[in-house]
């Protein structure tokens, strides 16, 4: 076994400079994530959790520190860290199939044959149960479906780490629950390494192996890391009454609303 974590965030600081004003958004973020682990980052809005995800994705540069994937530094975006964006970010001129196929064609251009790429695209649409709408355009499907396609596109890249940026944030509660179940099922099947940004306590506890709680910005830090020792596969209804679940939920709530309550919201 390796002595280093699969994905390592090593003393990351992030300072935004606008004109002469400097804003320190993230301060000394250090975290290790193991292969196959599902880790959530939770915090109030504005605490820089999306900034952190963008740094891991390579879409933003770090100020100091670094991101190491399999002990190698990554500082530009790539399909090994596929992102499911909060607002789906599907290309409206491509069909559902076309959106996933674009990613498949790009990532597996020299590796898979045309027929294989076609089959792989369909396979991933099937994984998120979107095969029925493969010829529709994003404007013709619902928000939950768009998010499923976004997930299929990310999964199709066979990323080493799947980055989810509040993927269910814009959905209604029922659709959200449905999609969470899908993500759990896919994670159970493929055992992906997942890093998810969220501000939903129940979502974090239900889905994660570990929950990283961030303090309020500016200069947000990791306040606490909580293990969620619930056996998988987890069933929403059973877990809801489980003592461990309730204890974890309580811990996160305490952190967010007692020790680090959101000042601006008061």
């Amino acid at each position: 076994m390796s002595s280093y974590p699969y994905l390592k965030l090593d003393h990351i600081d992030k300072v935004f400079v606008r004109g002469s004003t400097e804003t320190e958004v993230l301060k000394d973020i250090t975290l290790g994530i193991e292969k196959g682990e599902y880790v959530s980052i939770i915090g109030h809005s504005g605490c820089g959790k999306s900034t952190l995800l963008n740094i891991i994705a390579g879409l933003l540069p770090v100020t100091t520190g670094g991101v190491l994937l399999e002990n190698r530094e990554v500082n530009d975006p790539g399909p090994d860290r596929a992102v499911v964006f909060q607002n789906h970010s599907l290309l409206p001129w491509l069909t559902v199939y076309g959106n996933v196929r674009l990613a498949v064609d790009k990532v597996f251009s020299g590796v898979k044959s045309r027929a294989d790429r076609h089959a792989w695209t369909l396979h991933n649409l099937d994984l998120v149960q979107m095969t029925h709408a493969k010829d529709k355009r994003p404007a013709e499907i619902s928000g939950g479906m768009k998010q499923r396609v976004g997930l299929a596109r990310a999964l199709a890249m066979e990323p080493k780490v799947l980055l989810l940026d509040e993927p269910f944030g814009a959905l209604d509660a029922l659709t959200r629950a449905h999609l969470q179940d899908s993500v759990m099922a896919i994670h159970g099947k493929l055992n992906n390494t997942v890093l998810m940004i969220t501000h939903d306590v129940d979502e974090a506890v239900l889905l994660s192996d570990r929950i990283v709680m961030m303090t309020n910005g500016p200069s947000a830090r990791i306040g606490e890391v909580l293990d969620v020792p619930l056996a998988r596969p987890r069933k929403r209804l059973q877990v809801a009454a489980d003592a461990t679940y309730l204890k974890c939920r309580q811990r996160v709530l305490e952190f967010l609303y007692e020790r680090h309550h959101f000042v601006e919201a008061a």
């Binding site: 994705a57 390579g58 879409l59 530009d76 975006p77 790539g78 399909p79 860290r81 596929a82 992102v83 964006f85 607002n87 970010s89 290309l91 409206p92 001129w93 491509l94 674009l102 990613a103 790009k106 990532v107 355009r137 994003p138 404007a139 890249m157």
Partner: protein
């Protein structure tokens, strides 16, 4: 269509002689009624312009029938230009040709100038939209140059090319290029950051980014520019041809004026208007095919 089939049971119960036969409106089949609905919809769009056109022609006829009228009434326009209308293909050498030849000469110049303007305009617009430095450097110059009237370029291009044909094409080019550049640049600048992020995660190279993200994302803007451009091109060609002479609808009009064939001028104007309308429709149709899906994001 015999009655008993359609009549209700009540009729069957009565003796046939006592039955009072009500004249029911003949039942139309679904197909016929749909056809009627379609025809009614088409008529609703076609009838109003025909009525207005007829009114305009009637007023024109009345006004220009009077003695001392300077312009011919529509009836005389038709009789005087009948030969030109029925035979657009004659060719007696020089500039004594049918209207088809004049139109096609003008359209060819527009096609060359406009095609050139489209390609160069989209390229320059992309540059200005993508690069902040290119925008800072080029945009002020574009903003000044685009206000120069098309015909003001003609003497300069005649001096440079020393030939009417390339000069006319250049005037079309310089007329059509500004809206293409400006709209393309706006379209490129408005590409959502999300699409750029997707491209980065997928590691699309420059060519892939251009063809798979930029062009489709900016297509609605680009086509707005192209549509304005084709309209301006057609406006400019008539004026430019009046000055350069030779075969072309512009010089045809000028020549008709010099020979006092007012009816021919009117006919040419109608043709210019119709062709301009068709050109605009063609670009609009191309736009709606290419940008389908994009606009409804």
């Amino acid at each position: 269509m015999n009655m008993p089939v359609r009549k209700t049971e009540a009729v069957i119960a009565l003796p046939p002689t006592a039955a009072k036969i009500l004249p029911l409106p003949p039942k139309r089949s679904a197909w016929t009624s749909r056809l009627m609905a379609r025809l009614a919809a088409i008529a609703a769009h076609v009838v109003p312009p025909i009525v207005v056109l007829a009114l305009i022609l009637a007023i024109w006829e009345v006004l220009c029938r009077k003695a001392g009228a300077t312009l011919p009434p529509p009836s005389r326009v038709l009789s005087e230009t009948w030969e030109l209308i029925v035979d657009p293909f004659f060719d007696r050498g020089g500039i004594d040709k049918g209207l088809y030849w004049h139109m096609s000469a003008s359209l060819q110049r527009v096609a060359f100038g406009y095609a050139l303007a489209s390609v160069v305009g989209v390229a320059l617009g992309t540059l200005v939209g993508q690069s902040t430095w290119a925008m800072r450097g080029l945009d002020p110059i574009f903003q000044v140059l685009r206000t120069v009237p098309p015909l003001a370029w003609l003497p300069l291009s005649l001096a440079a090319f020393r030939n009417g044909q390339p000069s006319a094409i250049f005037v079309i080019f310089i007329t059509a290029i500004w809206p293409v550049i400006i709209n393309t640049a706006v379209g490129i600048r408005n590409i959502p950051q999300d699409y750029r992020n997707v491209a980065k995660v997928l590691r699309l190279n420059h060519a892939e980014f251009f063809f798979k993200i930029m062009v489709p994302a900016a297509a609605p803007y680009i086509f707005t520019g192209l549509r304005i451009g084709i309209g301006l091109s057609w406006l400019a060609i008539v004026a430019a041809e009046m000055l350069i002479g030779g075969v072309g609808i512009g010089f045809f009009i000028w020549d008709a004026w010099n020979s006092s064939h007012i009816s021919e001028i009117i006919l040419a104007l109608i043709y210019v208007g119709l062709v301009g309308f068709v050109l605009d429709r063609i670009v609009a149709a191309a736009a709606s095919i290419v940008t389908r899906g994009t606009a409804a994001s």
